[in-house]
């Protein structure tokens, strides 16, 4: 009810930009950098001659006016326009719906500027990317192939995110799932396909779950920050798999490449027709439906939602938070582990270096873009699978495939900004005063 409007000056309106920090300690670039983003800060509108203006990026009144605390109106007139950011009384449904569309457009524009600056024709690159991912049967199949592990990993992390558990460790859980499934496949090549695949599935899920348990326990017991622990374990898992494929498990006939011998046929997941789309896709879709039902219809799902929204209320209502932390992390890790199993059993048919090129990290973005909604995750995973394929597609023209990673990051960045716009109203306000200089009208969301 008592939301106060904040006023924000634009860079052009902020006079000296001498932040307190800059005068104190900061390297010389600080003030300039503050100005570059528009000198956002809180400021009072200019009003008449007796106005009191402490400017946004000046930090303190005395920095602007040099006047002490003597008079009633220190500071000097700040003229011109200012941007006013104020909270909307209700979230705007229009902006909420438009946010993804605008954000994608903005991300593409910024990526385009970036491409242009580095000497490429953005339209051509985007055309090639789109064609590479969605323009052919091969491209579409590859998109689905890449979307499969992303979908599973995202469903996994989204369950944890619901409870505000930041499982950033899906990457490591994928590697451990792949490792455990490979171990089963390599040690029991003779088992019948159904038995072997089931065992691999279970092994992958259990390994992923246990890998997630490692950070879950300290989090549940002492409240150890899981962001860092899950992330650190990614590196450990990757080195563990590297150790195996460069060392004891290396294929003697593999020309010294870091990979294991191929699995027996019994360990291959069935594929759709003669494509590379494998049963893992079904795992992902089933997981999406199951998680969706679990969250919206079951008592456990209700607990997860309450804990995620308000842990104090959950405790008050008698919910066991540490136990839920452990259970949710186990589930989250298990689903990511299944993604790893799917990769070795469905695609590579062996364990190898770099079995996941960052699916676990992509999953974080996808989860947030889809607002943790399972149906949204299915669609977004597909799009991001396409983005990866598109990145590889332009690589042959000498453009770094990192363009895909960059676009992923900036997409999330813009969506976050866009959603904030649904919650806040940005207005351009003409502050009455002399010598008003016009400022840029659009709020700058960033420079990509």
């Amino acid at each position: 009810m008592t939301e106060d409007a904040r006023k924000v000056t634009t860079g052009t309106a902020a006079p000296t930009g001498a932040t307190r920090a800059a005068e104190a300690e900061g390297p010389t670039g600080a003030a300039g950098a503050a100005g570059a983003v528009g000198g956002i800060g809180e400021v009072r509108a200019a009003g008449g001659t007796e106005e009191a203006g402490a400017a946004g990026s000046t930090g303190e009144a005395r920095a602007a006016g040099g006047a002490g605390a003597g008079g009633a109106a220190p500071g000097r007139a700040l003229a011109g326009w200012s941007i006013k950011v104020e909270k909307r009384p209700e979230i705007s449904p229009f902006w909420m719906a438009m946010a993804p569309v605008i954000s994608v457009a903005m991300a593409l524009v910024c990526g385009g500027i970036f491409l242009r600056l580095t000497g490429y024709d953005p339209f051509e690159v985007y055309r090639l990317m789109f064609k590479g991912a969605f323009g052919s049967r091969y491209g579409l199949v590859e998109t689905v192939v890449k979307a499969t592990p992303i979908l599973l990993a995202t469903i996994g992390v989204s369950v944890a995110f619901r409870m505000l558990l930041w499982n950033i460790g899906a990457e490591g859980q994928i590697y451990m799932g792949a490792f455990a499934a490979s171990w089963v496949a390599l040690s029991h090549p003779g088992w019948p396909p159904f038995v072997l695949l089931t065992a691999m599935f279970i092994a992958g899920a259990v390994a992923g779950a246990l890998w997630a348990l490692l950070p879950a326990l300290p989090r549940a017991i002492w409240g150890v920050n899981e962001i860092i622990t899950t992330l650190m374990l990614n590196y450990v898992a990757i080195y563990w798999v590297d150790y195996l494929v460069y060392g004891p498990w290396k294929d003697p006939k593999g020309f010294n490449f870091p990979l294991t011998p191929q699995f027996s046929n019994a360990a291959w997941l069935p594929c759709l027709g003669n494509t590379r789309i494998h049963l893992g896709l079904v795992f992902g879709l089933v997981a999406a439906v199951a998680v969706s039902v679990m969250l919206s219809r079951t008592r456990w799902g209700y607990e997860i939602r309450v804990i995620g929204e308000n842990p104090a209320a959950a405790r008050y209502a008698g919910m066991n938070i540490p136990r839920n932390v452990v259970l949710v992390m186990l589930l989250s890790g298990a689903i990511a582990g299944i993604a790893g199993m799917g990769e070795v059993a469905g695609i590579t048919h062996r364990l190898q270096h770099g079995i996941s090129p960052g699916y676990g990290y992509t999953a974080i973005i996808v989860a947030w873009l889809a607002k943790l909604n399972p149906a949204g995750i299915v669609v977004t995973s597909f799009l991001f699978g396409g983005l990866l394929v598109a990145g590889y597609a332009v690589q042959i023209f000498g453009i770094p495939a990192d363009i895909a990673t960059m676009l992923q990051g900036s997409l999330l960045f813009f969506v976050l900004g866009g959603e904030a716009l649904a919650r806040y109203r940005v207005k351009l306000v003409r502050a009455g005063g002399p010598a008003g200089r016009a400022a840029s009208v659009t709020p700058r969301l960033g420079t990509g």
Binding site: E3, R6, T19, R20, A21, A24, E25, G26, P27, G29, A30, A33, A34, A36, V37, I40, G41, E42, G56, S57, G59, E60, A61, V85, K87, W166, P218, W222, G223, V224, N225, I228, T229, L231, M232, Y235, V236, Y239, W240, Y243, G247, Y361, I365, P400, D402, I403, T405, M406, L407, Q408, G409, S410, L412, L416, G417, E419, A420, L421, L445, T447
Partner: protein, 311 residues
């Protein structure tokens, strides 16, 4: 025999300081940012962007100073994006940090592609401090380093003084502890958070450039290898205190350096396990630091990670 052992220890310690320096810069940057109440998890990406932009500019201009400035500016820009999202638009700080990590990783990979394997025309070289370098052991360890290492010593002391003995430092901490209070007393919470987030990003960028201009010195994709995250863990371990951050950074540097030495000595431990060490050590340290302070958030700024909105 004793002399070679001594020489080994000295060389490991000196290497620990060098290996710890990029982490130290990033950790100091994060201490500054977090003290003002902003949690910036984008360190890994920011370091990479700092490393690649420092390297590119140095290759282009042949000037190390220009490289370091470029790294600082690039780091500051990434941090400014974070500040805009989290301070002005009040986006979840964790998510914003993660998105910028990925963004930074992508940008650095993209920009760095052409200079992979390109040698730098110049790199930071050790400069012996006359006099001080003659102190036994310590002299070789601390005062036979490059300029950026010496600058980090000064920075640690300067930050300590700034936090605990100056008015702007007091104001910065009040914004991190209780923004309502700071606001009520006329301290501009938004501008303060912007300023220190950007300064933190600049320091992190410099930390990245240390990797590509002094430590490696070359550009390798993903060359930070988790150092940004280790720096974040270090901040918790250091209880937001710059002096302890220095100690912690050298500890991590030591683990890093030791692993490398053991490998050189031809130990039987596979290198992959030695490479895991810093990460496992980070987890152990984090658990230790958290369990010690459990229930009482010792040292953590009370408003850390909470966007400020006027009532």
């Amino acid at each position: 025999m004793e002399q070679t052992a001594m020489a080994f220890v000295t060389s490991v310690l000196a290497a620990a300081v060098a290996a710890g320096t990029p982490i130290l810069y990033a950790a100091l940057g994060e201490v500054v940012t977090e003290r003002s109440g902003v949690l910036n998890l984008s360190l890994e990406g920011t370091m990479l962007v700092g490393a690649v932009s420092g390297f590119l500019v140095t290759v282009r201009t042949g000037s190390l100073a220009a490289g370091v400035v470029a790294a600082a500016v690039a780091g500051g820009l990434i941090a400014a994006l974070h500040a805009f999202l989290t301070v002005t638009l009040k986006v979840n700080q964790v998510v914003s940090g993660l998105s910028l990590t990925l963004f930074g990783t992508g940008v650095s990979g993209y920009l760095g592609k052409p200079v992979i394997g390109v040698p730098t025309p110049v790199s930071f070289k050790p400069v012996v401090v006359p006099g001080l370098a003659r102190i036994p052991v310590l002299g070789d360890v601390l005062f036979n380093q490059d300029i950026l290492v010496y600058a980090s010593y000064v920075l640690v002391v300067a930050l300590w003084f700034f936090f605990y003995r100056t008015r702007p430092g007091l104001h910065m901490q009040s914004v991190g502890e209780s923004p309502e209070t700071a606001d009520a007393l006329g301290i501009n919470v938004f501008a303060t958070r912007y300023a220190y987030t950007i300064i933190g990003g600049m320091l992190t960028g410099i930390g990245g450039s240390y990797l590509s201009l002094a430590y490696a010195p070359s550009w390798i994709e993903y060359m930070t290898a988790g150092r940004g995250w280790i720096a974040i863990a270090l901040v918790i371990f250091a209880v937001w205190n710059p002096l302890r951050a220095m100690l912690g950074a050298y500890l991590f540097g030591g683990i890093d350096a030791l692993g490398f030495r053991i490998q050189v000595l031809g130990a039987i431990i596979p290198s992959f396990f030695l490479k895991m060490m810093p990460y496992i050590f980070t987890i152990a340290v984090l658990i230790f630091a958290t369990a010690r302070s459990r229930n009482y958030r010792i040292g953590a700024p009370a408003a850390l990670g909470v966007p400020y909105e006027r009532e």
